[in-house]
């Protein structure tokens, strides 16, 4: 922690960055985002296993960007999100500095987003075993059983869009659900509205999701909606060899290979 705080203070005092986005202690033993703008605030920076929020979600927030050049303390999921955001032109070297964090809170300094990408590419996105079990169980059901499962699982959803707000990849100023000419996705939180919202969010994350679980952690009702995005990750691997966030390389869904093989087109 000392190393991180020291570096943050240096960057702020030298004016290299105007804000360091990190974690601090919050309510009831949880953690929350910190926007440190001076040495005193930088002293509050922490990082431990309680820090599950993906801070990269703040990098596209107008009010945060408006502060000036940003530094962000980023564990691996956030680093992946940052590279994906960079590949979508939402962040760049002149606007962002990354202070990487290993799981045991060691700080990694990167001179550029390309260096962050190098680090990110050292490990593939792997779905945790406990989720693989749940996914296997679902795969073993009949479609009708899966339908009933999802209608049921999604029925508590009240469309608060916390999942969307917490996801670093959901940064559209006007989300697909906010279009009303026509209203593609029903607004009310009934069976249809819930099903179509979560289906659309998942498909819009195909090839972009970095498996950070921010969506699940944000959901006030504990709905396992991250199973949908994980399914997209598995499919991406099976059909197209998987993907890594990458600033220069092609995006999974905005590119193609003539050799893409389907087994259902007549």
């Amino acid at each position: 922690m000392d190393e991180l705080r020291k570096r943050a203070k240096e960057l702020l005092e030298a004016g290299t960055v105007k804000v360091v986005i990190g974690y601090e202690n919050g309510s009831a033993g949880k953690t929350r985002a910190l926007f440190a703008r001076n040495a005193a605030e930088a002293d509050k920076l922490i990082f431990d296993s309680r820090c599950i929020m993906n801070l990269a979600a703040y990098l596209t927030k107008t009010e945060v960007k408006g502060i000036g050049k940003m530094a962000i303390t980023a564990p691996l999921p956030a680093m992946r999100a940052i590279i994906q955001l960079a590949s979508e032109f939402q962040v760049s070297d002149d606007k962002l500095m990354v202070l990487g964090l290993t799981p045991d809170a060691k700080m990694l300094e990167f001179k550029s987003l390309s260096e962050v990408e190098e680090y990110v590419h050292k490990s593939a996105i792997e779905i945790e075993a406990k989720y693989n079990e749940k996914l296997e169980k679902l795969n073993g059901m009949t479609p009708s059983e899966r339908w009933n499962f999802w209608i049921g699982e999604l029925s508590p959803c009240f469309k608060c869009y916390a999942c969307r707000a917490a996801c670093p990849m959901c940064y559209c100023h006007k989300c697909t659900v906010e279009f009303n000419q026509p209203q593609w996705i029903p607004v009310p939180s009934d069976d249809l509205g819930n099903l179509e919202w979560h289906m659309m969010r998942a498909i819009h994350l195909a090839g972009r999701c970095v498996d950070c679980d921010a969506c699940y952690n944000a959901c006030p009702l504990g709905i396992p909606l991250n199973l949908l995005t994980k399914r997209m990750l598995i499919d991406a691997k099976e059909y197209f060899g998987g993907y890594q966030p990458s600033i220069k390389a092609d995006h999974l869904m905005s590119t193609y290979k003539p050799g893409d093989k389907d087994n259902f087109i007549m």
């Binding site: 679902l138 899966r146 069976d191 179509e196 998942a202 389907d262 259902f264």
Partner: protein, 149 residues
């Protein structure tokens, strides 16, 4: 009691499948009349939400069809479409949508007979599956008149 006649919506590209369907007609090939065709410049224009809307509005089955790979009028629209269909079909199946009711095909402007075949096969298959009541139950509304739980 009248036999169930499925309602099929077909999302097709203008340059290949739509022209192919025209050819089916001018060739006087008889085929099932259950299909309503929606014309797009290219399959690359077809959004996921369009397919879902078809089920919302009461379709029992959907056909999505365009130019063969390498023959797209806009060079690569159908390649993008193929990727989208692969991912979307998998997600839809994962969520329990009956993907037997969504058929994808490549039908060129010269394949009038193939179009008739695709439509006839689809109508036969969907007729056997019956109306898509599962989706209808959810889309026609279960907004309760009493407090929600």
């Amino acid at each position: 009691m009248a036999e169930f006649e499925p309602k099929i919506v077909a999302f097709v590209c203008n340059w290949c499948t739509y022209a192919g369907a025209d050819l089916t007609g001018t060739s006087r090939i008889k085929y099932a009349s259950n299909v309503r065709i929606v014309r797009f410049p290219c399959t690359g224009r077809i959004d996921y939400m369009l397919l879902i809307k078809a089920f919302d509005e009461g379709a029992d089955g959907i056909i999505v069809s365009g130019c063969h790979p390498n023959d797209c009028h806009y060079t690569s629209g159908n390649f993008h479409a193929r990727r989208r269909w692969m991912m979307f079909r998998s997600l839809a199946d994962f969520m329990g949508v009956d993907i037997r009711r969504i058929k994808f095909s490549w039908v060129s402007a010269a394949e009038g007979a193939k179009w008739a075949d695709i439509v006839n096969t689809t109508v036969t298959d969907i007729r056997a599956l019956g109306p898509y009541t599962e989706y209808r139950k959810v889309s026609k509304g279960n907004i309760k008149e009493v407090a929600n739980g």
